[in-house]
């Protein structure tokens, strides 16, 4: 494909952000056809955390994620065709169709896996970091989580162990204020900040704007450098917001579970709009740039969907495979 990846890191961030958004929107658009027969949790609205983090990690760094992992997978460099093929349940899917949207993996780029049990990859990520330490490699492991996952006891245990053994692990928490439809207030004490809890546990921690991709990238870069040079594990909490329903392709704000002013305020702070505003004056950026990116990305997505549709199903005869290595 004749793509034009900008050399400038800021522009690259903007383009990557757009790409993740367009992929998620394409999934949302195609999903109602019933070909992708697995639950999907889209990241529309939250992409800046993924993209900023992905940009700050080396390819040799590792990541694990959650049910809402498309953006993390792509931002870490995961293969788009194999992502879509996985959603279509195909053998060429990144998990050979066994896992679906909630179980993504791309070992070529250090994306070690996302899983669907809330909190379940938290210790796995810490274990990857322990593995790196034992082997003496320089990888940093990035553990993506949501605000809900932090309610699982295993989060606290994992953070504690990371601090005790000073492991090279970075927790990146997308706090979108909701766990499914449940607001923070019924799940965590009012006014409490998660990053402060984590700091008290013994990690370096901070709260940042998760809708500013440049801030995310810069913050994560600093954190990763500190960890790589032997610093303590880090927890970064990013405030952000989900535009679509928790699971599925539609908007659901007619249900009224989120205050309308919040929704409006957050949509006004759409990470894509913000990012484009920030590079508005960049010499290599113009409306034309956006247009070109859009059509390049659209073509890439079309091709990936075509691939996902055309590539074969797994054979029924292989169904019982992979239970044991």
């Amino acid at each position: 494909m004749n793509t034009s990846l900008p050399n400038d890191p800021s522009l690259r961030l903007v383009r990557d952000l757009l790409r993740v958004r367009m992929v998620e929107e394409a999934i949302a658009r195609e999903y109602p056809k019933g070909e992708m027969r697995c639950p999907v949790h889209l990241s529309v609205g939250q992409e800046a955390v993924a993209v900023g983090t992905g940009a700050a990690l080396e390819r040799s760094d590792l990541a694990v994620s959650t049910h809402r992992a498309h953006a993390h997978y792509l931002a870490k460099g995961g293969n788009l065709k194999r992502l879509l093929a996985e959603l279509f349940g195909k053998e060429a899917g990144c998990a050979r169709g066994r896992g679906g949207s909630m179980h993504l993996i791309d070992l070529d780029v250090g994306f070690e896996g996302s899983t669907a049990i809330v909190g379940s990859t938290l210790p796995v990520g810490v274990g990857l970091a322990l593995g790196s330490k034992v082997r003496g490699d320089s990888a940093v492991t990035c553990v993506f989580l949501g605000d809900g996952a932090a309610e699982e006891g295993v989060f606290y245990e994992s953070a504690n162990f990371a601090a005790v053994r000073k492991l090279p692990v970075l927790f990146v928490c997308e706090n979108n204020s909701y766990s499914v439809y449940s607001p923070l207030g019924v799940r965590q004490p009012p006014g409490r900040r998660l990053y402060e809890v984590v700091r008290s546990i013994g990690l370096t921690s901070a709260l940042h704007d998760g809708n500013d991709v440049f801030a995310v990238a810069a913050t994560v870069k600093t954190a990763v450098a500190g960890i790589r040079h032997g610093g303590p594990p880090v927890f970064l909490e990013f405030s952000t917001y989900r535009h679509l329903e928790h699971c599925g392709p539609f908007a659901d704000d007619t249900l009224g579970y989120r205050p309308e002013p919040d929704v409006a305020a957050w949509k006004a702070r759409d990470p894509i709009i913000q990012a484009q505003d920030k590079v508005r004056d960049h010499p290599e950026f113009s409306d034309e740039t956006i247009g070109r990116w859009r059509s390049e990305i659209a073509a890439e997505i079309d091709e990936a969907f075509a691939f996902a549709r055309a590539t074969p199903w797994p054979e029924q005869s292989t169904r019982a495979e992979y239970v044991y290595a």
Binding site: G99, G100, S179, S182, P314, Q316
Partner: protein, 354 residues
Amino acid sequence: MLEKSSVQMKFGEAVRDGLDVALQLDPHLICYGLGIDDPKRIFGTTAGLAEKYGNDRVFDVPTSEAAMTGIAVGAALRGVRSVTVHQRLDFFFLAMDQLINNAAKWHFMFGGQRSVPIVIRLILGRGWGQGPTHSQSVHSWFAHIPGLKVVMPTNAADAKGLLLSAIFDPNPVLFLEHRWLHEAVSNVPSGDHRVPIGRARVVSEGGDVTIVAMSFLVPEAIRASALLARHGVACHIIDLRTIRPLDWDTVSAGIVKTGRLLALDSGLPICSVASEIVAFASERHFHSLRAAPRRLTMPDHPEPTSFALTRNLHPSAESIADTVCEMLDLPHRFAADPKAGPHDVPGPWFKGPF
């Protein structure tokens, strides 16, 4: 016995009705679980309850399955019964310590001084991409554990009746409801309708083979018996309803009657309820058996996500009928001619994703 009025309703509505009745009967009963008062209301099964009984009795909780289970135990010790709900059984693995070491043993290990009347609703997923971690049912694990009771209703009336019995039982009861049964309609008695825990139901009284089933496999067994009836085979179908304590009398009678046993299980095969039933049959009714007893279960691997890989994954009417024909040395086979429509949904009502 007084005739009670009854109403046609769906399984999911019957659960809701049961909760409503219980919340009225016991002013201290509480109901909680992730999303219990959200717009989806646990597939509709808790609709309107938070409004009717208030947020002190029907409430949403943090994503903390372990603690929330121990909290139910503690509340029960204080005389507050509870119905907790998990949208998938798979999430409940996080709470095994509280279930096994506390809930199941409290009454025994303190010499019978305090019991733990709690109900834990676990919803069983299947198909439509639920995949390896949203489709598990470990009812066989629960059946292994003394101190627990385990019910798996198959129709709306039993759902309500068993739920009410479970809530007012003095012991911890796991209430396993199959997502694919939520729309099943039947006549449900109004008011305080109870179905006793520990009693199976004879669904049909045939003389050729005894089929023991639970949960979603009961309707499949019924469909299988219709297929088989066309070939003159009459099935004795037992709906276990309760997995622990198991109604061995009803199972025994069925085994002795036909001498042929097919034990179905909606879960994994090894050390399963089906294993237990076959073991029981051969240990206790060895001389009544006219042919080798058989099991039909999920295969011995996790449920994959892909549409292509879930076809014929679970026992179905067709595979049940085929197994019965094998047992009876009959030539008929049905698997080649499955039910119409996509195999990964219970029916057109299911819109996914969960």
